[in-house]
């Protein structure tokens, strides 16, 4: 069994050198000019929030909202952890962008054949046993790559050994957890991490309950409608028979007189 991989991002250690951003852009052949937010040519950026550097990147959820939303199943989570996008399936509906609670997927708005763009956690490199480009580039180990279990242990160690850390690993359980983990010395709420809309429940559960009801509704609705139709037909038949009876009586009366 392959072990799930993950990235641990330590906000306290980050020095804002943008090496991760540059490495990512170089790997994908984009211009290395830094960008303020995620874009179709910036799959990770380092934002500054009140003097603290906060990396923004796909969280690679364990049960991703984008993957559940995609009508053609173009997005999926691999056994190793990365949430990957299959451009050959995509129709460009952009529902993944609406669904993602972290607002990560970006679209190539300027292209005539536009695709969705987002971090794929260097799925090919990971498959080949290499770390992600950003983790490899980080000079201060603010982003490290490894087995998810090992990294969780490492995160707790850092939190235990240094009391300035917030005692929480963001991404461990939020929305069902994911393959990108954050530790920080500043409360996450102050760094633009929004409260998880469904707590520790994965986002797809929101849709699943509504979809799960539909077989029941269809079976019940179908039965009720069929029954109503039967009643309608029966009434129709009875009315016809009565009219016929009346007509026969009238005819026989007519004969007698």
């Amino acid at each position: 069994m392959t072990k799930q991989k993950a990235m641990l991002i330590d906000i306290k250690r980050c020095i804002g050198c943008l090496s991760c951003e540059t490495a990512c852009k170089q790997l994908h052949g984009f211009s290395t000019a830094p960008e303020p937010t995620l874009s179709d040519t910036a799959f990770t950026v380092v934002e500054t929030r009140g003097g603290t550097f906060v990396r923004k990147v796909c969280m690679h959820c364990n049960d991703p909202a984008c993957a559940s939303a995609c009508p053609v199943g173009a997005i999926g989570k691999t056994a190793m952890g990365p949430v990957v996008y299959n451009a050959d399936k995509c129709i460009g509906c952009r529902y993944c962008m609406l669904a993602c609670p972290y607002q990560v997927p970006r679209y190539q708005w300027t292209k005539l054949a536009p695709f969705v763009k987002k971090c794929d956690m260097c799925a090919e490199r990971v498959e080949a046993g290499k770390p992600t480009a950003c983790a490899e580039a980080c000079p201060v180990e603010a982003t490290i790559f490894g087995d998810r279990d090992t990294l969780i242990g490492e995160a707790w160690t850092r939190i235990r050994d240094d009391s300035s850390y917030v005692p929480r690993i963001y991404g461990l359980e939020e929305l069902g957890g994911g393959s990108v983990l954050f530790v920080s010395d500043v409360p996450f709420e102050k760094l633009g991490f929004k409260p998880a809309p469904t707590g520790n429940q994965p986002m797809p559960t929101l849709t699943a309950s509504a979809l799960g009801d539909s077989p029941k509704v269809v079976i019940m609705g179908g039965t009720i409608l069929s029954a109503l139709y039967w009643v309608t037909q029966r009434r129709h038949e009875v009315a016809l028979a009565e009219a016929e009876e009346k007509a026969t009586i009238n005819r026989s009366r007519g004969k007698r007189s």
């Binding site: 559940s68 053609v72 609406l98 300027t110 986002m203 409608l225």
Partner: protein, 393 residues
């Protein structure tokens, strides 16, 4: 000669010409220059007017077809038979406009068929796609007799219509279920956007609310279309049927208003309606147009029994419904997404083009097919009688 040409140029023809020229130009920009040139969509507002107006309003306003066909075929409410075909035609054309709109919306329109072969049963949008495609087929089937009965080949006509009649009820039943599913799934699309949608609209029962609101809106559009046909297309319908539709619209709106209110209370979202935010403003506009004004007006007999007044009241219902769908799909998202989206003229022009094409198709169908009873004394040559059974004569 010039006088004749002049007499051909009427106000509506000029308007239609403008709609077609601008719409076709907008279409050119969409397909040959891309989204950036043709829309104001962004990473913060991935869905805009095309989804809000084209799909959500288009499908919602086409809800009368399944409502009336359920009433007539399944519940035996024969009273509504005269407007059955018109409502099915409206739904059919409505769904066709949505199908065309779908090609504008998706980034890779030549892959429109992907959802048919690439399934993701966990996706609300997948279910919407499949339901809409299947139901459009059902509508084609339900509408087909109006065309087939006009074909010149008698034997073919009669054979096809006999088999058509045999499976009609089953198809109608399937159509009602399919409609109920995707009318609500359209609301279900937004369930996963929890945390982004403003609390005045987000609810775990959004799908149910979408379903409840679509039926009165669809009926209102049918009333409008039939009124206009009566006024300008030499068509005669017993007006009391439309009056009854008015009463039904009011009843359904009251039911919707009740559940919407209940939902707001149970989600503790009612307070948001009294904040000084633009969302609250949009919310009250929706409440006024879709619920308060129509429910108030339709409770008066002098509104219901007057064609023109009923027409304008229905127009308010339709407008209110559109405000509701645009609120859910655009206005409710702006704050959380940190953006302000105003559609580009090209988005509006192309949407209006598709809608106008639907309206024109409706007009010619009513003129050339037996959709609504004609005023002229010429006896109808319909193979299916008004009672839906093969004509004996």
């Amino acid at each position: 000669m010039i006088a004749r040409i002049k007499s051909e140029i009427t106000l509506w023809r000029v308007i239609i010409a403008i709609i077609f020229v601008t719409g076709l130009y907008a279409t050119y920009i969409r397909f040959f220059e891309g989204f950036r040139a043709s829309t104001n969509l962004s990473d913060q507002m991935p869905w805009g007017l095309w989804v809000g107006l084209g799909t959500l309003c288009g499908i919602g306003l086409s809800a009368a077809g399944f409502g009336i066909s359920a009433a007539v075929y399944l519940l035996g409410m024969e009273r509504y038979r005269p407007i059955l075909r018109a409502s099915i035609l409206i739904s059919f054309l409505g769904y066709l406009t949505v199908m065309v709109g779908y090609l504008y919306e998706i980034g890779l329109p030549w892959r429109f068929w992907h959802p048919i072969v690439m399934w993701n049963h966990r996706s609300m949008l997948f279910d919407v796609c499949i339901c809409i495609m299947t139901y459009t087929t059902v509508l084609t089937f339900e509408f087909a007799p109006a065309v087939i009965e006009k074909l010149p080949w008698k034997a073919f006509r009669e054979t096809v219509l006999r088999y058509h009649h045999k499976i009609l009820i089953a198809v109608v039943l399937a159509g009602v279920l399919l409609s109920s599913m995707h009318q609500s799934y359209l609301g279900g699309l937004f369930l996963i956007a929890r945390g982004k949608i403003h609390p005045l609209w987000y609810s775990q029962y959004m799908h149910a609310l979408f379903y409840l609101s679509a039926i009165p809106a669809g009926l209102a559009l049918t009333v409008m279309a039939i009124y206009l046909s009566m006024r300008s297309l030499n068509v005669r319908v017993d007006f009391s049927i439309l009056s009854d539709c008015g009463r039904m619209i009011q009843m359904l709106l009251i039911v919707y208003a009740f559940f919407k209110f209940l939902d707001l209370v149970s989600n503790q979202a009612l307070g948001y309606a009294f904040q000084r935010t633009s969302e609250a403003g949009y919310f009250w506009l929706e409440v006024l147009l879709f619920l308060a004004i129509p429910i108030f007006l339709l409770s008066y007999d002098f509104v219901r029994s007057n064609p023109e007044r009923l027409y304008w009241t229905s127009a308010i219902v339709v407008a209110g419904f559109m405000v509701d769908r645009l609120n859910v799909s655009i206005n409710s998202l702006q704050t959380a997404m940190g953006t302000h989206y105003v559609p580009k003229w090209t988005e509006l022009a192309s949407s209006v083009l598709v809608i106008a094409a639907g309206v024109i198709a409706f007009r010619y169908a009513v003129i050339y097919l037996d959709i609504l009873p004609k005023m002229t004394a010429k006896p109808a040559t319909r193979w299916i009688s008004n009672a839906g059974v093969p004509a004996q004569a």
